[in-house]
Amino acid sequence: MNKPETISQSTAPDEPKLQLPTIKTMAAQAEGGLQGAAAPSVPSVIRNFLQAKSSGRMADGAFATVMVVCGLSIFAIVLLIVFVLVSNSRLSIHAFGWKFFATQTWDPVSGDFGALPFIYGTVVSSLLAVLMAVPLALAVSIFLLDICPKFLRGPISFLTELLAAIPSVVYGLWGVFVLVPIIRDQVGPLLEKYLGWTGLFVEPNFGVGMFTASVILAIMIFPVISSISRDVMRAVPVNQREAVLALGATRWEMLRIGVLRNARMGIVGSVILGLGRALGETIAVTMVIGNHPGIVKNLFAPGYTLASVIANEFTEATGDLYLSALIEIGLALFLVTIVVNAIARLLVWAVVRGNPGSAH
């Protein structure tokens, strides 16, 4: 957090560029000099091979190639995923075109497929989850950074990160047996009594539905938003805080003017990352959302998401068109999450990269 550390770390990335090449070239020159002195007048393939080997140049080349291949394999994986998903969903792409994403029918029997209800379910449940998780996540980040006494900081941040380590299926299990009854019997009636007039919370409420799914999602994306927004806030230079405090600001004013305003891009990035996670979350959502396609305003009504329709129907799908329609949904999910994540990463980088020293 202090200034010297910031300086020493921020200069570190420049060192290799400056120093390594010079040493390498010096070593190469020395080697070249030695070889030049001992080089025979007649070039021989075997000698060249041995020389190359003894100087490690061949091994170096081979090793570098392997590493480059490993690095480029990440591109290959993305391209491969796109390729197999596109080629396996060709049937459905040809049959429905763009209409696939704009029609509401989902009728495996007559072979008529439209993804609109799933898009609606995914968007609504994810946005609701983000709405619930963001204020909490930011409050916790602020608490852990500036308010929390030191001895509590470690345990609490460890606990919140534990939330991220719990597998999706365990959230689902807990959701089915604990959260669903609570929402059905305790929270539901309250919401209906006070917010029923909005038309968002209307009986019958069976506990499984869009609202329960959003609550589970909110719990699941909370650690993502909280830990990344904390990183981003920590990356704001200390002098910003000190300057605002020196002007006589209270802690909240310092956070608002000095920290939140500087880190806002990165915070938005962390929120979008959380959104990306929510969009693709599968198992826990599938277990509590009710799995019924439909576009209704009532949040107690069962819904369906892009990911959960794949999880729920893929193994039972009969017929090539049905399968390829589900794979096309997967392709759409893939492309959307790629775009969402790319935007989020760029925003986070924009903040953390400017002040690399204090980011971690």
Binding site: K17, L20, I23, K24, S55, G56, A59, D60, A62, A64, V66, M67, V68, C70, G71, L72, I74, F75, I77, V78, I81, V84, L85, S87, V140, I142, F143, I147, C148, I156, L159, T160, L162, L163, A165, P167, V169, V170, G172, L173, W174, F177, F222, T250, R251, W252, G280, T282, I283, M287, A307, A311, T315, I327, G330, L333, T337, N341, A342, R345
Partner: protein, 295 residues
């Protein structure tokens, strides 16, 4: 203050009051929110311990599932199946990930290409796991015409690569350059320097990264649904459908039978203990690494 007219003095004190009230209010909100967030965590872990521990017995670890109605039965085959799938995934994903990390840290630092690979890895990290399952299905299951543990392992391996690559890179970046330069200065070829000096120095952190990636995929259900598929019997053949702990929990949780619910809770407890154990190990490793790294 005394120079100000009386009215301004009142305004000033009112503003000060408002500011300090706001400040305290925000502090209070932050504290309450943190407490609120800890509630579901404690609720989940507590309930899981309570339900899981009361349903766990020796048979869970030694028996295969029995048909509905029969008492007893366990998930021994699922534990073994999970181990097989995760072993395969680690075998494929970890070397590839470490290689990519080495490329990023040692060969492509500061280059345009490196930035592109890094960015792609970060984006790949956020791709939903079910899409990985679909990809593995299309690549392997659709070609072979049958479900297999192999396809499940590949799906999980793909998920491990970006995580392992990025942590490896970050850990290698903490290795001080003078150490590398010392090695190069002694005439050691670059590949030896990378293997015996950089990777060696960063190894505790890299192991941490691998364990985290492992813990992350260990609980994944979605990519296994239509790759490994699950199996009610013993199966060691990775080329056949194979049972996995998360899959079994999923199926049992959604079943209408109390006996199966009991087994699902026990399975969840076992799964989470496995994951927590690896995360805790990671913490120990990471702390040791910080001491050993000495920078």
């Amino acid at each position: 203050m005394s120079a100000l007219p009386v009215r301004s003095r009142y305004v000033a004190s009112f503003v000060t009051l408002r500011r300090s009230v706001t400040n305290n209010l925000v502090t209070g909100v932050a504290i309450v929110s943190t407490a609120l967030v800890l509630v579901p965590l404690v609720a989940i872990l507590g309930y899981l311990l309570y339900k899981g521990a009361s349903s766990l017995n020796l048979a869970f670890f030694t028996h295969v599932p029995v048909p509905v109605g029969d008492p007893g039965g366990g998930m021994a085959n699922a534990i073994v199946g999970s181990a097989a799938i995760l072993g395969l995934a680690s075998l494929l994903g970890i070397p590839l990930g470490i290689g990519a990390g080495v490329y990023l840290a040692e060969y492509a630092r500061g280059t345009w290409m490196g930035a592109a690979v890094r960015f792609t890895a970060d984006v790949l990290n956020g791709v939903p796991s079910i899409v990985m399952g679909l990809a593995a299905y299309s690549l392997i299951v659709a070609k072979q015409q049958h479900f297999s543990g192999l396809a499940g392992g590949v799906a999980l391996a793909i998920m491990m690569v970006p995580t392992v690559a990025r942590t490896t890179e970050e850990m290698l970046a903490t290795v001080p350059n003078p150490i590398r330069e010392a090695a190069l200065g002694l005439g050691i070829p670059k590949w030896r320097t990378v293997l015996s000096v950089s990777l060696r120095t960063a190894s505790p952190g890299i192991i941490t990264g691998c364990m985290l990636a492992f813990a992350r995929v260990a609980g994944e259900t979605a990519p296994l649904l239509f790759t490994a598929f699950g199996n009610q019997f013993w199966s060691f053949d990775l080329n056949q459908p194979i049972a996995a702990l998360p899959l079994q929990i999923y199926v049992y949780a959604l079943s209408p039978y109390d006996e199966w619910h009991r087994l699902a809770w026990a399975g969840a407890l076992v799964l989470i203990v496995m994951i927590m154990a690896s995360v805790t190990l990671v913490r120990i490793f990471a702390n040791r690494g910080a001491l050993k790294g000495g920078h």
